[in-house]
């Protein structure tokens, strides 16, 4: 390191120190002047407000810390559901875009060009204010198969309740997962097939699928024995009760965010597949692999390597856009914390710090997970 570089670093440290010192000083002065007693104790105060959607029990007497957990879970739920929907839709669009069928491909391209160039907030507003809020009232709900109901209070779908038997079910699922894992390993040992075909030997060996079926049967039986009950929404005088309720806010966010982000995923999927040299398809054809197997065993694993890095960006963006929920008052981190709680307790410093920490932490987790996955699939194909 040259002398000059050291000098630069010392100067930079000095500047950062001065800025931090000045900002901290004025902030403290300002807070004192405004009479804000900055402390994190507000988290254990009584909340005093209700939250429309909660995954864990919460009422006005709960603490603000609990409100934070409720809001965080809402954010995570919204992000997870939107990511899954966007991925499925995006994959479909991407594959449609690659279709030989002119009309299918054009339709997919049209979808991408239209929805990609309209701000996601506008799309969310459209679904919320124009579509979902103008649905019929509870008494005139739109029903599907007499068990799913849609009205201006949201979407009502049947749920499965486990009652007292839930530990058994968790145990059964864990055991099943363990056995599947074990069977897969056994298979891989048995078939010293070329690496590319390895993950899919169970397709070539029908018995392996039978194993999975039997496992599914056992799990299903345990679930039933443990007393699982299907709960169907029923109309009462105060609207529908029972089952799972999805708020209109939640629905419009999921639809808006998925439709918007699916355009990006579609393009990524398409470029992933087009990046594969033609020779790969031709080689697979000359090996006599049917078209379906070519896609699954040859093209998809290679496309995935190209797809994952940009997909990480899209997932991160989607996760960050869940904060748009604040615009239609879906109770997630920004609207509950920066909105309601900050108005209530007036602790901007801690509240903004916690909010930013949440987003930084979860973004980091998503990025790390997908990077790990990317490394993993990169290795499987190379060896």
């Amino acid at each position: 390191m040259t002398k000059r570089e050291i000098a630069y670093q010392v100067a930079l440290l000095f500047i950062i120190g001065v800025v931090v010192y000045l900002v901290a000083g004025t902030t403290q002065g300002n807070l004192a002047r405004l009479g804000v007693d900055s402390s994190i104790d507000f988290l254990w105060k009584r909340a005093g407000f209700e939250i429309g959607q909660k995954l864990i029990p919460f009422d006005a007497n709960s603490t603000i810390a609990r409100a934070f957990v409720v809001a965080l879970l809402n954010t995570l739920l919204l992000a997870a559901v939107s990511i899954i929907c966007a991925s499925i839709l995006g994959l479909a669009i991407g594959i449609a875009r690659l279709s030989d069928n002119w009309l299918v491909s054009r339709l997919a391209a049209g979808y991408i060009e239209i929805f990609r160039n309209i701000p996601s907030l506008l799309q969310i507003f459209f679904w919320y204010f124009v579509v979902l809020r103008t649905l019929p009232r509870s008494s005139e709900s739109i029903g599907f198969f007499n068990c799913i109901f849609l009205n201006n209070r949201g979407l009502f779908i049947p749920s499965v309740s486990f009652g007292q038997g839930w530990p058994w079910i968790v145990a059964a699922l864990l055991a099943a997962w363990g056995m599947v894992y074990f069977l897969r390993r056994q298979e891989r040992r048995q078939f010293a097939a070329p690496a590319l075909i390895r993950p899919d030997t169970r397709r070539l060996n029908p018995l392996a699928s039978w194993n999975l079926l039997i496992l599914a049967g056992i799990v299903g039986a345990i679930v039933l024995l443990a007393g699982a009950q299907l709960e169907i929404p029923r109309e009462t005088r105060f609207g529908y009760r029972g089952g799972i309720v999805m708020m209109p806010e939640f629905l419009s966010l999921v639809v808006g965010l998925s439709m918007y982000n699916a355009t990006y995923i579609g393009e990524i999927v398409r470029s992933g597949f087009t990046s594969i040299p033609r020779g790969q398809t031709e080689a697979a054809d000359s090996l006599g692999l049917p078209r379906r197997l070519t896609i699954r065993l040859v093209l998809f694993p290679q496309a995935l390597r190209v797809i994952i890095p940009p997909l990480t960006t899209v997932y991160l963006n989607l996760f960050k856009s869940t904060s748009l929920a604040a615009a239609i008052a879906y109770p997630e981190v920004v609207s509950v914390f920066v909105g309601t709680v900050n108005n209530l307790v007036g602790q901007p410093v801690f509240i903004m710090a916690i909010t930013m920490a949440v987003y930084v932490f979860i973004s980091l987790c998503i990025a790390l997970f997908l990077n790990w996955y990317n490394r993993k699939i990169a290795l499987t194909v190379v060896t």
Binding site: N101, L107, F126, A326, A327, V338, M352, M356
Partner: protein, 352 residues
Amino acid sequence: MNWLHNNLFSSPLNTVLTLACVCLIVIAGVPLVNWLVIDAYWTGSTPADCPDKTAACWPFVRARFDQFMYGLYPETERWRVNLGLGLIILSALPLFIPRFPGKRRVVVLAVIAWPLIGALLFLGGYGGLTYVETGSWGGFFLTVVTALFVLSTSLPIAVLLALGRCSSIPLVRVCCATWIELWRSVPALVVLFVAIIMFPLFMPEELKIDKLLRALGALTILMSCYMAEAIRGALQSIPKGQFEAAEALGLGYWQRTFLVILPQAFPVALPQITSNFIGLFKETTVLLIIGLFDLLGMVQSAASDPAWLSPGVSATGYLFAALFFWLFCFSLSRYSAWLERKASVYKTHAGS
């Protein structure tokens, strides 16, 4: 006939798909056209001209068009907005003309001049121009001003951040990387809230900074981090030989960077920068959450006016806003694709 057979009916599966698509188009398209054109109200400009509450209501757009475009900007002063935006478009024209003499210099000057033009013309408050406070800025005007202002302020910062992240000095590298990654992992809305709620706390009491300016500052921080990543990618694509050759010529760090490396890196980064800009353009809608009414915010507030309030009206309003955004973003994305094609042509020529 042959084309039809090859592209639509080449196999049973394809035939089924084609028919399904036709069905989809008919099912979705016919009611849409019906709603948008045939059942819609076209004439007049008062709520009474749209008796059916669900049909598309174009009189609403006609009545509120000025508001959508200029927000609450005083009617007599709107020529300033038109003049300013006209000047900006004029100064950006060389970008689209491939062989414009001294193009690079003109564009750089223009980008630096934009905030100045904006401040002088739109704000006023001197000479004969009356002062127009930023609170009354709004509509599409605000969208454009925000996007262009943030573009012009964040580009220089982005260049510095990217250089810092590629620097040989460890502390500079770590600081720039942390800064970039911190803001990139936080939603725009949260950054805006930091600017609105926290920033006044950081500053001395006497210093009151305009709300719009704070929001613009927040978006600048955010955008500069995104663009820094685009520029960093381009910097890394420059072959090592270029650095070494510049060094062998005896050029110092800044000369090397600004005369040799950046002029090569910039065209490579341009498509990515354009798509970041498109993202920014769409992101400006978030401003409405903090109470600055851009195009979408104006549509939103106009549609909730009790005199107009109806599903048809708000649908028409959103559709109008969507059309506007779509036109701009779509043409920008075409421009970006053209740039990319040009860059790749250039690359293959250089390689051969």
